[in-house]
Amino acid sequence: MSALLETRVLTRRFGGVNAVDHIDFTLEQGELRCLIGPNGAGKSTFFKMLCGLLRPSGGDIILRGEKITGAEPHEIARRGVGIKTQVPSLFDGMTVRQSIELSALRRQTNRTARKSAMRLMESLTLDKLDNSVVGSLAHGQRQWVELAMVLATDPELVLLDEPTAGMAKDEVERMAGLIREINRDHTLIIVEHDMNFIRMIARKVTVFNRGSILAEGHIESILANQKVRDVYLGKGRDRA
């Protein structure tokens, strides 16, 4: 299987500091990859370059064999990349239904977009909120809305930046189940801090630290990795 996504010595500088430092990263089609690492390690910066919100300072991003380095966000989105950003980026003045319909509308007609939106709202249990104005929703609810909007565009590659932030334990479980389902026909990269959540979904994990990849491997080996424990995990009870 050829790689869906590849970065080669990808770099991004912010005023003298390499937030992302010459990263070589490979992602196969159908993978579910988790990205963990300390605050400020460059995870979100990496994501923003992948979806075109930030221009790389150096290196390349290759999607399905084609270079997309420096392409505009809407061009990359049209190539099948969807991102749920760390701080939810939503249409606060619209209702939940309107937001999701608009997301589906790019690839569908009015009628089919409406149906897709309804189906998505049901599977993400947003149907009771469908006429709520997005700006009035609580933080965790907004995360679900953004996820629905991203899924409505049916992207091949789904990037989720801290999807469970602000969610209660049972919601986290629901999200884990949903992600496993999405993984059946989408490739995912997920940035997260909730180790319990990562345990529920992860296979391969990449650890970022100071703009570089510190370690990469199966979740259990990562959790046992001393370097990772030192910079990131701490001495918590349920680490092992």
Binding site: G15, N39, A138, G140, E162, A168, G234, K235
Partner: protein
């Protein structure tokens, strides 16, 4: 604290109602916080955690009920006067000043504090030291969250309200924050009210946990009860009933 000392009531909330326009969110919240307490607030999204915090701080006007802080009725006071009385607040979503440097963000918090307060705080938050001259907006999400917490402590509050402080912060630093807050509580008597979803964090910190549902406090738990499997099921079950 000797047995004869009566616990001083720091925060007393009675029948608090509040909402957004015509939508009621808080429907009669009642609870008390005594000096030196660490009170956790658990609840699903949309149940009123953040609205409660914002109403306590005065960002949202109460439509009914009272809020008393150290005996004084603060229900109708503007936010800055509540802050001046010693209530600190770390809102959900960072909300640091992106155009100001890290050190200036801290100085803003320390404007009315004793001299040397910023240096003091930096010993508790060494992670911020290498970033002092960086613009707040250039920090990563988790670093901004750390800065928000540090800044709130700069004003030397007697009571701090936290809304999901650990969100976006890596596990090792969450541990450090928990340790720090615990020590501030034990050595300086800092009273803490914290809304959180991270049960491990709450369990290690709180003396009492309140469960908020549909704008009302429905249950009060001890941390040991929180660890019990059945209480989580009950909590989860309550969620499924909505």
């Amino acid at each position: 604290m000797s047995i004869s000392e009566k616990a001083e009531t720091v925060l007393e909330v009675r029948g608090l109602h509040a909402g957004y326009g015509r939508i009621p969110i808080l429907n009669g919240v009642d609870f008390t916080v005594n000096a030196g307490d660490v009170v956790g607030i658990l609840g699903h999204n949309g149940m009123g955690k953040t609205t409660l915090m914002r109403t306590l701080m005065g960002y949202i006007p109460a439509t009914a009920g009272t809020i008393r802080f150290s005996g004084d009725d603060i229900t109708w006071l503007p936010t800055y006067q509540r802050a001046r009385r010693g209530i600190g607040y770390v809102p959900q979503g960072r909300e640091i000043f992106p155009q100001l440097t890290v050190v200036d963000n801290l100085r803003m918090g320390a404007l009315r504090a004793t001299r040397g307060r910023v240096e003091e705080i930096l010993t508790d938050f060494p992670q911020l030291k290498p970033m002092l001259d960086r613009a707040g907006g250039a920090l990563s999400g988790g670093e901004q969250q750390l800065l928000a917490i540090a800044r709130s402590l700069c004003s030397e509050p007697r009571t701090v309200l936290f809304d999901e402080p650990t969100e976006g912060i890596q596990p090792s630093i969450i541990e450090q924050i928990a340790t720090l807050l615990l020590s501030l509580n034990r050595t300086r008597g800092l009273t803490i009210v914290v809304a959180e979803q991270n049960l491990d964090f709450i369990a290690g910190l709180a003396s009492r946990v309140l469960i908020i549902q549909k704008g009302v406090i429905v249950r009060q738990l001890t941390p040991s009860q929180l660890q019990g499997i059945d209480i989580l099921d009950e909590f989860v079950g309550m969620a499924r009933l909505q």
